[in-house]
């Protein structure tokens, strides 16, 4: 009897010992992570998240009083947490393991697609009115104004979304904006859907359309404008990378996926001069292939973002001049458009603040104006406010 009791105590002691051990292990893991934080090299830039990480804030009494110092310090701690990318991956895996089909706003879609959701649009009225005001500014100018609102993958590849995914119809919103703005629309959504089986029109890991997608958009534009589109066969194709892991890949955090290929086209009959007005750089190509080695490979189109780019083409098939007001979607369409315009002025209204309409008035040679945005950034970043 006495022996049994002793045995019992011993066994209970063992359970207890393990429970205690659990606590110590958890505590030790915490401290190890803390130590790693202090010992590790601090990266300045996160390739994966494509942003600069927080820096050690400079101490000042005012910043302490306002709480800014503490917030910055917290951001610094979070940004440089050890094994950050590993943990981001663990989070994505854990969510997928419990059956989540949407991670950080990205649908885990069929055929290897990661597709960014379309959030409830908040600024439809406002965007429509901004565009209407822009059109009003141009009244009396002898230019053809067109508005092209491009759907994102969530619209075109709706059939690839996970079952039951709640999809808002982007083109309904686009219709509203077309009608409020009163600008002649160029709707490429039907063409995109018609061609969607012919190849990938959107990247599987990025929020942009592929060069092929941009080509379909270009065909819609040409048809509406009465231009003869250059066929892809007449152009030179070059696959510049096969492992482009874009923004939605980073957002979702599932790092086991393979990247996309990027193909670029050049028209042999073009003779280009590309001027970046902010940096003063001049180039003879619409591509900057240095970006192929970095993370943000889509930036190879038109050398990333610039407030104003002037493209002159001595080999163009007309003497018309185009103003293109756009977001990054247009960057991969410009190589096709360039053939039809002697000059293209490309504005990114997030950065160009001098007023596009004033520019148009000062340049009477301009014959066409195209406003091109994708439906996601149009509502979310409101860069379009800079349009006039």
């Amino acid at each position: 009897m006495e022996g049994l009791k002793k045995q019992m105590e011993k066994v209970q002691g063992r359970g207890w010992w393990i429970k205690g051990l659990t606590a110590w292990l958890l505590g030790a893991m915490t401290i190890i992570l803390m130590v790693f934080f202090f010992l590790s090299d601090k990266k300045e830039f996160s390739e994966n998240e494509n942003r600069y990480l927080g820096k050690v804030p400079v101490f000042s009494l005012d910043k302490v009083k306002s709480g800014e110092y503490m917030n910055d310090l917290e951001a610094y701690m979070a940004d440089h947490f050890p094994f950050r990318d590993f943990f981001m991956g663990v989070k994505a895996k854990a969510e997928m393991a419990v059956g989540k089909k949407e991670i950080n706003g990205i649908y885990v879609a069929r055929d290897g697609f990661l597709i960014e959701e379309y959030k409830k649009p908040e600024n439809t009225e406002r965007v429509g009115r901004i565009l209407k005001d822009f059109a009003k500014e141009l009244e009396g100018q002898d230019v053809g104004l067109r508005l092209m609102l491009v759907p994102t993958a969530v619209y075109v590849y709706e059939d690839k979304l996970p079952d039951h995914a709640p999809a808002r119809n982007q083109m309904e919103t686009a219709e509203q904006i077309y009608s409020i703005s009163g600008i002649i629309p160029i709707d490429c959504s039907g063409d995109l859907i018609a061609h969607k089986e012919e190849g990938e029109l959107y990247y599987k890991t990025d929020h942009h359309w592929t060069t092929l997608g941009a080509y379909v958009g270009y065909q819609s534009y040409c048809r509406e404008m009465g231009i003869d589109a250059v066929s892809l066969e007449e152009m030179t194709a070059q696959t510049v990378t096969e492992d482009f892991c874009g923004t939605v890949y980073s957002k979702a955090g599932d790092y086991d996926r393979t990247g996309d290929a990027i193909t670029i086209y050049t028209n042999p009959s073009d003779c280009l001069k590309v001027e970046y007005m902010d940096t003063g750089e001049v180039s003879d190509s619409l591509y900057n292939l240095e970006y192929v080695d970095g993370k943000d490979k889509y930036s190879l189109f038109l050398n990333n973002l610039h407030p104003l780019i002037e493209v002159t083409n001595e080999g163009a098939d007309s003497v018309r001049e185009l103003v293109l007001v756009k977001d990054s979607y247009a960057n991969s369409m410009v190589p096709f458009l360039a053939h039809h315009y002697k000059k293209i002025y490309i504005f990114d209204t997030r950065y160009y603040k001098q007023g596009v309409s004033a520019f148009i008035k000062e340049h009477p040679a301009i014959t066409d104006v195209l406003v091109l945005y994708n439906m996601n950034t149009l509502d979310s970043d409101l860069g379009i406010r800079g349009i006039y």
Binding site: V11, G20, T22, A23
Partner: protein, 471 residues
């Protein structure tokens, strides 16, 4: 700095604990005080003066009550001083703008709101300091002669921001003399981790679901989705709040203190009365002991009882936030509690238990819908959606989508809302005593896995809001 954040868990807390355990016994309170003040000043660099003020007032009142309180009348004078000052501070910082806006609306005038930020934890620490003054007046505790001790009690970081509302009488002995035992530290850490897992893996996820549903256009919400949303919010609130209490209690134990339990599986209640015995216990007992019973409770006839209920539940509602929906929420419970006592309580008891669960849950879920919308027209719209009167369908594809995405989290949340964990612990204990250490090893592996996943969520998380900052 919220508990469930990288700066707190991986920097502040380990650092404090190392200092705390390393300090000689006589220095431990000083380390604790310094840590707590740093913690508070971190979030409220200016308002920390307010906490010094509030504690100084009650400390001085206590000393004066002790020195000059030879008669009941004098003691009462000091008590009233303390209460008036505390409530004025609370009213000024928390309710002034609410009052101004209400007055503006009533008389169509336009006094400018003050636009003061709400000092973190003010609702908690003013209630704590008041409990000290009242207990002292009632001679239930003896006077605190050391201001730093008193400040340590009020500012103690585990419970400063979100409770439980620890009374002075609960911890005054431990403030002076406590033993820090290894097993207590271990158990405290486990409790802290449980709270952390609950907060990050359940409350935040249920919260994400609720946010998705609340942002849907009214017409797009089917009845099923509306109820799913309300349920998700209920689970979020419970797991969020009780997780904070778990973490507070756990950290308290690691420091050698024993704080009261604050939740006892409220979502497994079988009546409204039962719910309020199990939900935010430290608050409901505070109102019971310091408002309801002094007013006469239910022993002075039905009319007075009704009045007392009205007062207590108006105040309980208002305590939760300076907005009418909180008052409405409080009164909703006041009325239901009265009805349960005088009208259908007996009939309810005759029902099968499962029906009583559903009855209580229905009331709780509807109640939290009132709680969450501070805009009355949004609230009305949501109720219409829940009732199917908003021109919405009974069932929609979006509901399948949400269930599919959140099935594991929701199932875990529902299961853990019932006292399953104590049962598992008991069974595991039985298995262990039969010599099966495998249970302990499995649980250890489980904790480590959950810790890694939780850390992953924290690293990823931009979604880490803290619901209780409005209190």
């Amino acid at each position: 700095m919220v508990f469930s954040s990288i700066p707190f868990l991986f920097f502040f807390l380990p650092f404090c604990l190392i200092l705390y355990y390393g300090a000689p016994y006589g220095w431990k309170n000083k380390v604790l005080l310094l840590a707590s003040l740093t913690f508070y000043a971190w979030g409220e660099p200016v308002y920390i003066l307010l906490m010094f003020f509030a504690t100084a007032v009650d400390y001085c009142n206590g000393r004066l009550m002790e020195k000059y309180g030879s008669t009941e009348g004098r003691r009462r004078f000091f008590l009233i001083c303390s209460i008036v000052i505390n409530l004025s501070v609370l009213a000024f910082f928390k309710y002034a703008d609410f009052l101004i806006l209400t007055v503006n609306k009533l008389f169509s005038i336009s006094i400018r709101p003050l636009g003061l930020g709400l000092p973190v934890g003010i609702s908690f620490f003013t209630f704590q300091t008041m409990s000290y003054s009242i207990d002292l007046y009632r001679k239930q505790v003896s006077v605190e002669k050391n201001y730093w001790n008193y400040l340590t009690y009020v500012s103690m970081f585990p419970q400063l921001v979100a409770g439980p509302i620890v009374r002075y009488s609960t911890v005054n002995e431990e403030l002076r003399k406590r033993r820090i035992k290894r097993e207590e530290v271990e158990e405290g850490l486990i409790r802290l981790m449980q709270g952390l897992f609950k907060k990050v893996l359940i409350a935040n996820q249920a919260g994400a679901l609720w946010e998705e549903i609340r942002l849907l256009e009214t017409g797009r919400v089917s009845v099923a989705t509306a109820w799913l949303g309300a349920t998700a919010f209920t689970l979020q609130l419970y797991f969020d709040f009780s997780a904070y209490s778990d973490m507070a209690i756990g950290m308290g134990r690691m420091l050698g203190f024993h704080f009261p339990e604050n939740f006892n599986y409220p979502l497994s209640s079988i009546s409204v009365t039962d719910f309020w015995r199990r939900w935010h216990i430290s608050l409901s007992t505070w109102f019971r002991d310091y408002v309801y019973i002094p007013l006469g409770g239910n022993r002075k006839g039905m009319i007075k009882h009704l009045r007392n209920m009205l007062v207590v539940w108006f105040l309980t509602g208002l305590w939760h936030g300076a907005s009418w929906n909180f008052v409405l929420w409080g009164l909703y419970y006041g009325i239901l509690l009265v009805l349960e006592k005088y009208v259908w309580g007996k009939a309810l008891e005759a029902l099968p238990k499962i029906c009583r669960h559903f009855y209580a849950l229905f009331i709780v879920v509807v109640g939290f819908v009132i709680f969450v919308f501070d805009n009355m027209s949004d609230l009305g719209n949501y109720f219409l959606s829940m009732a199917g009167l908003g021109g919405n369908a009974l069932w929609g594809e979006e509901c399948v989508w949400y269930l599919q995405n959140y099935k594991v989290v929701l199932t875990a949340a529902v299961v853990l809302s019932f006292p399953v964990y104590p049962w598992i612990k008991k069974e595991a204990g039985r298995m262990e005593s039969k010599g099966k250490a495998v249970v302990s090893i499995l649980s250890m592996a489980g904790y480590i896995l959950l810790f890694l996943v939780t850390t992953a969520f924290l690293v990823n998380d931009t979604y880490n809001p803290f619901l209780y900052f409005r209190f």
